[in-house]
Symmetry: C2
Subunit: 299 residues, 2 copies
């Protein structure tokens, strides 16, 4: 059950658009209004049937709204909140969908002041290398985690209502602190993106680039899929989570140095030990994921 009667989604791309579609699919009876910096995107989202209203003035858009969801690149959080602030109804709850949390919380705290108590930070762990409203689909969040990075000031009611919205979209709710969230995702998401971008950039700039790409096959394809993600979004995430990402990158480069030394020494047993440990860990992880997914399907 969703308590909100009128939801304003700022940013109706993959994430914001998919929330709107998921709510509609779940039979949500309230209104969903969209906001976009780029009016062309808003028109496309409206044509795609994602939005009830394409939004007019900010005053009109926020009238009677009881939830504002930010689904914009994280670096825009402050600017967007500042521009909305004069129009926000007193009792509106605000949430976000950003891939980093500490910086978003800092910006929200800075702009909102005491009203940050109504800001419930969240991050749906779902996505795609595609973006824009055309990439949105109603089942994007089904069976996926949404992390709520609750603030000490948040009321239990606001947190429960944001959680209920995500559950309506099919998500499973997890709770982490903003800093804990950022450390985890630096390792399992932001670092792999950086590494994939780096590999493709390296290959693309190589004098033999054309030859290399000609023979790249399925291993390369899967390894580099995320290098097609939005550069703007990942630049913002990298900068926003800079400290944790540098920590992860340094630790990974130490691992590469160790592997390089083993390879330079032709130490087959040493390489084998790393490869075998990685393989076993990857299989354990995949089997755990698959058993949860099978469990969900059998419900």
């Amino acid at each position: 059950m969703i308590a909100f009667k009128k939801i304003v989604i700022c940013g109706v791309g993959l994430i914001g658009g998919s929330v709107a579609l998921a709510l509609r699919k779940a039979g949500y009876s309230g209104r969903v209004v969209g906001l976009e910096r780029n009016s062309d995107v808003l028109v496309r989202a409206h044509k795609l049937g994602i939005l009830d209203d394409a939004g007019s003035s900010l005053g009109e858009t926020f009238k009677d709204a009881d939830l504002l969801m930010l689904a914009v690149p994280v670096a825009q959080t402050a600017k967007v909140l500042e521009s909305f602030l004069p129009y926000l109804p007193d009792n509106i709850v605000i949430t976000d969908t950003g891939s980093t949390k500490s910086d978003v919380v800092a910006m929200a705290r800075n702009v909102l002041g005491d009203r940050v108590a109504r800001f419930v930070p969240a991050h749906p762990i779902a996505g795609s290398e595609s973006n824009g409203p055309e990439a949105a689909f109603a089942t994007l969040f089904e069976g996926k985690k949404t992390v709520i990075a609750q603030l000490p000031e948040n009321s239990e009611t606001d947190v429960a209502q944001v959680a209920a919205l995500w559950e309506t979209c099919g998500a499973i709710i997890h709770y982490l602190t903003p800093a804990g969230h950022d450390r985890v995702f630096a390792t399992v998401s932001h670092l792999p993106h950086l590494l994939a971008y780096g590999l493709v950039d390296y290959v693309a700039n190589h004098p033999l680039s054309e030859l290399f790409f000609q023979y790249a096959a399925s291993g390369f394809r899967d390894f580099t899929r995320i290098a097609e993600s939005s550069p703007e979004m990942w630049r913002d995430i990298s900068l926003a989570n800079r400290t944790h990402l540098l920590e992860g990158l340094d630790a990974y480069m130490e691992e590469l140095f160790r592997m390089r030394a083993l390879l330079a020494d032709s130490n087959g047993a040493g390489l084998d030990a790393i490869f075998a440990n990685a393989r076993q860990a990857r299989m354990n992880w995949r089997c755990a994921i698959e058993s949860v997914e099978t469990g969900n399907k059998n419900k």
Copy 2:
């Protein structure tokens, strides 16, 4: 049309098993006999219907054979060829499926002497993180490249006959020198495997490993798929292609150092440029691949 009347495949796992199945699917009327260091694997391959014969003595196996295909981890090439040498008919053609070529050629040259003229090195660019005969399937090579790394001593007839066999399996034939082959695959295949193994090993050994794996999602999944590949096979490939792989690893680490410096300086424009270049190159590559695949399907 395949000229060979009796083919001995040494190693009936994913690659060797799939060749046998592809030949059968194509209506190949000759005999396909399997050899395995592990007799249990041979029995499984026979039960799976992959082989006509499960092989008896080496003398019996090689009687009247006119092609020997090695589909074993590359480091075993010398040992396997040595053990077969006394039993090889005078006019048998030998080929392999190894992921590295310079080392395989060196071993073949060493063991076979002048008979290396009948050794046609090859590498089907197809695979999976799964292995063993159970992973084999008849369409593994369809529409995929097979690289023939022809030797100066090879006769055009032998090369054409090995090429015809792979074309019967559905492959598209490409030609590279052994060294050219190894340089290309160090970059687009061997390096990504090393990087993926390294990331999973790093995450698995981290004190927060359990928490990290809990939040790993689709980006991590695709990036690390190849870290489930056979440790033995990839240890051998890494060692066999050590020089080119070290070269690629060093260049990639320089790229990571550059990205690290940009991140440490909060240089968003610099990161954006790398991300955008990578994204464009990845999209161009994918579109080229997809248009070839669509073209093949429409034939």
